[in-house]
Amino acid sequence: MFLNPALSAALDRISERADDIRRAFTPGSVARYDDVAMARPASDFTLDPLAVSAADDLYFVTRNQRGEVAYTRDGSFSLRDGRLLDSEGEPVRGFAAPGKEDSDLRIDAVDEALGRASDPRIERDGSFVYERVTVDPRSGLRKTQRVVAGRIALARFPAGTGLATADGSRCIPPPGVQPQLGIPGDVNFPTLRPMQRERSRIDLDESLVRLKDAYIAFDALRAAEQAKAHLGKTAIDLVK
């Protein structure tokens, strides 16, 4: 710990710049400093059918076991015990049926328990879909049935809302700010891009340059402090 506030601040800047570099590898994450932020989102194709990316300024909604709601742009979802989870393992919220309140999205419990659900995926309109095989009792013919477990909820915040984030990925709005909730493909919400994994909004090269600058600034400050201390000591010796 440094007693000099300038050195402490320089160390904090290094830490924050290093944070930005770490976040550069997290899909959908945003930078702490605007000077390393990218202007528009970009995504890459992936073979994962549970990966989606949303249009700019839209967020996916999650809620943890304590009931705390968070918002993320990371659409790298996965399926565990029939539940659709985000990359942090928190349940993804959506609408199980039109007109219903938002809830955790999940495959039917019996279908999951009996291993009937196959080929889970997320479609352009946010439908969380899986397939199961049924039999027509009249003909005995099997048919693959498409089942919509629900539609993913999207959130949009008022323009200029500053979202707080600890890791760059999960965001929390300021108190009193409520987002507008909707579903992809609705009037005000564009469709999702399936099988796309969003990149972070952080320019890695620029972040590394800024980190190096922060180290240089710290070294310069430290050298100045050392010189200052040396000068003081010399002055005291002369007075003696």
Binding site: L47, D48, L50, S78, A109, V110, E112, A113, L114, G115, R116, R132, V133, T134, V135, D136, P137, R138, G140, K143, Q145
Partner: protein
Amino acid sequence: MSKRIRKPVFGLRSALPPSAACVVANGVRETLTSILSSPVEMRLFEPSIPPPPAWPAIVKGAILYRVRGSIADAAIVLRSADALSLVAALFGEGFVHRDRELSPIERDVLDRTVNAIAAHLGSVCGTRENRCVERVGAIEGYATYFELLIEEPVAVRIGIALSRDPSPEPQGCIEIGHLAAVSLTARATLDLGRIPSRAVSGLRPGSILAFRQHDLQRCTLRAHERSLARGACGVRSGRYAFHVEAVGGET
């Protein structure tokens, strides 16, 4: 990478033929068509043997009825939301409050409907003169499960559990004629009994170990570590030969 590879899943298959479940489904469809006064569209999920951890998910929050049959017991499993939807359809109501209990009248109507449905379970659990349908709080020890999926005029799933999976029917086996062309590596071995260690230690290339005549009578024919026959080996009509005295033996 792991998300692109489907996990292998091993599960027990029910020996209950899907056709038996189809008989039940068709009967239930006819019954519901007459009760609802509307055509019923129905599909079914094939019979399966749920693993033990799946049963709690199947019966969670469900209304259960036990039907005693001559071969096995059956249980009708109606999840509460499905029960509400079914009763609402019976009363001709379009909107269903899913988060509530059934009223006494609704319960009675549901009991009667289930009683009518249970009449079609004979093909899977056997018939009894006095068909007994009773509401139970839990079911235990059930083996087989399949579901009827009503799609129209109301979306309802009716589960049917059976206390016993039918014994698998004997299937045609492979006859020996089908395997006649398969080649085996056979080995004839001689039991020489005891020989002096002097004879063993003196073995060199070119050595000759003399057999006694009766040693040739203790020959065993083996294939892939399995004893095929016992007998005598020797020369017959100018060919080396094995004379079978007994077939089989220890493995």
